[in-house]
Symmetry: C2
Subunit: 413 residues, 2 copies
């Protein structure tokens, strides 16, 4: 790949994405194969004033071996210090921020005992929940950005030889992330963030009560919104006041559905990668907020497990609006990674909601959030439901109709 662009990308994710502040510790999660890029980000992090950079290398192939060989009781038992290590950084008076670099084989766990994998992964998420609240509640700055790996590139470009595939995937990532040789990604993102923020502000002014999604594939879905739901976009603000971009790329404007007020049927419009395996051609039907039936052309049983992860995994915690004209969708690529594919289409997330998507939510107790209708779960899994013919209409509590999307595009005034 173009080393200049990689450096530009690293500068952008560290300085704008996670926006490391002076004296913070920058924590970088990074696939073990991508150490050279972690080091570039570390260098940039120090230049931006970090007091230290901690890199946590992750090895999905090792994880596969552990899932294959380890007993479930051992894989689900965690040492308290493994959580404490993360909390120590969060509680450091100088603060910390998290840059999660990822580039996974979309089918790394294919052929394994799916139920075991999911239970082990779920136990891991539950164990790490006190740390994850720092990101879910935007207490610290955090940013997820992608790095290509051969197995991922092979999935996106099955017709290309591995090295060429990786090269093409880098180009695609640069393109949809607005990183190019001739312009400044920082300026590009400033304009982009402003546009998304205008849409979110406009939606917030309507104080919508519910949304109605329809499209040609049969989707007919009513999503009631949480009380005091707030539309958010692109840029978030951490407790220390620093702004950050949690997902790169991001094209979405999103809010909290009401966990008890979702009705109707919706069809998935993109394959979905769950715990390393693909769910394709799925549909779900909601009644009073709960999924009451579902199906999938591929891995319906996996979808069932996702929905049964815990009591509230069958309810949705997020609804997000993305136009069909988004760069990710225009790339014509299926990335087999939610970070990208969710930015090609409107989506909903099974499971946990973001406290920040109701007014004052980041300061509320779990009970107060539930009261507002924000869902709570150990999972948060985005599935794509938007297409080029998606219409979305908003309704206020007094029945006023607001056209939001027509034929997959924003029509907000």
């Amino acid at each position: 790949m173009d080393q200049e662009l990689v450096r530009k990308y690293a500068e952008f994710v560290v300085r704008v994405g996670v926006n490391v502040q002076p004296r913070q510790t920058l924590i970088i999660r990074c696939p073990v194969e991508q150490a050279p890029i972690a080091r570039i980000c570390a260098q940039v992090g120090f230049e931006a004033g970090a007091k230290d950079v901690v890199v946590r290398y992750e090895d999905e192939k090792l994880t596969r071996i552990r899932y294959e060989q380890g007993a479930e009781a051992d894989l689900t038992s965690h040492k308290p210090s493994a959580l404490r290590a993360w909390l120590d950084y969060a509680e450091d008076p100088d603060g910390c921020c998290l840059l999660a670099l990822r580039g996974a084989d979309p089918q790394i766990f294919e052929g394994l005992d799916v139920e075991k994998v999911n239970r082990v992964a779920l136990a891991g998420r539950l164990f790490m929940k006190p740390w994850q609240e720092y990101t879910m509640k935007d207490r610290i700055q955090w940013c997820i950005a992608a790095l290509p790996c051969p197995a991922w590139a092979a999935k996106v470009f099955p017709e290309l030889p591995p090295e060429e595939g990786v090269e093409r995937l880098w180009e695609a990532i640069f393109k949809v992330c607005r990183v190019d040789p001739d312009t400044d990604p920082v300026e590009n993102w400033k304009a982009h963030v402003e546009k998304l923020t205008r849409c979110a502000n406009a939606l917030n002014e309507y104080h919508l009560d519910r949304l109605h999604f329809t499209s040609g594939n049969g989707t007919d879905l009513w999503i009631g919104l949480a009380q005091d739901a707030r539309w958010e976009a692109a840029q978030s603000r951490a407790e220390n006041g620093a702004v950050f971009i949690a997902n790169i790329p991001t094209e979405e404007v999103y809010t909290a559905p009401h966990r008890l007020r979702v009705e109707g049927k919706v069809y998935g419009t993109k394959p979905y990668v769950y715990n390393g395996q693909l769910i394709e051609g799925f549909w779900v039907e909601f009644k009073e907020g709960r999924v009451v039936s579902h199906g999938a052309a591929k891995n319906d049983d996996l979808l069932a497990q996702l929905l049964e992860s815990d009591e509230n995994a069958c309810r949705i915690g997020e609804v997000a609006l993305v136009p069909a004209s988004s760069p990710v969708n225009r790339s014509g690529l299926l990335f087999y990674d939610t970070l990208f594919d969710e930015n090609a289409a409107c989506h909903i997330a099974f499971g946990d909601g973001y406290p920040g998507t109701v007014a004052g939510g980041n300061d509320m107790t779990p009970e107060q959030l539930l009261e507002k209708g924000v869902n709570a779960s150990a999972v948060h899994e985005d599935v794509m439901i938007g297409a080029g013919d998606t219409d979305i209409t908003g309704f206020t509590a007094d029945g006023r109709e607001i056209p939001i999307f027509r034929q997959g595009e924003w029509v907000l005034q």
Copy 2:
């Protein structure tokens, strides 16, 4: 490299080197570039009955960036959880063992502020001391083994292109570690361990009081031994009774000098890599156990810092006998890595002694060990003092002379 031999090497280091026991957690420290080999070791570890395999990837290039960019106060401040994470494994009722795979650029820290690097490294060792006691006292099984990396290979084979150098270094490692296509390394090592153990046993029967080293380079060194010093070799036994080989390769028979009873002058016979930098052509002079003067053709100031690391870094904690005919020496290579080079020549270690090298030492308090004459320090740095013309004579307390080495070779009866 030959994948079959790599697998054989991995089998050997996991099953014989660290000798993982059923239900233990196998902890693997591994350079980030060597993930494929860590995974092979993980697989073997599970096959040998490990309940889990934890891989801690280490990144010396990132460490260099941190040393360059971080402030000393930040680099020497450690979170308690970082130690706790290791102790949690040691205290697990099922136990743990440690396989440390390493392959470092011998000059990774060249050009950095040497004093800062050493102080930061020292603070790290002090912080980790409670964990390190598990290995220094053989409370758990542990094993250090090497993997080639391009920067290391370039140092050993400066005339070769990088890939060929790595290939040649693999071949050299396989050879000096007795791993070859036609024989079983497990059997090879059984015979080798038996031979070293016979030498150690023979030395133990003499209950020696002191050693006298001489060689043509001017070395004339008297090393008094600790009270109840015991000669050890090759194989160690952990608290759980499992035997292991702490260093692969190992050619040494070693014991505890008396920290107050070393006299005379000794010349280094191989360059020595300290914290990523080379000390070459050094000599030291002892009086009453302390180094009272020293010099080096290269990096004498680094040697000075090593000796001043703490109060007792200027005393020696180990003396080890290695014949000039050892495979490492016969390879004709300078490995620029103590793990190998110490097995080409007799050596002494500045700093900490091994409690297990005095009778009953692993159960003694620090005060009791000092009383026996075993040195205590945060450093343990082996430097090579043996050559093809080294003579070593032992003396019992009543003045009986025992020839041990003549012209660099064992002559014990």
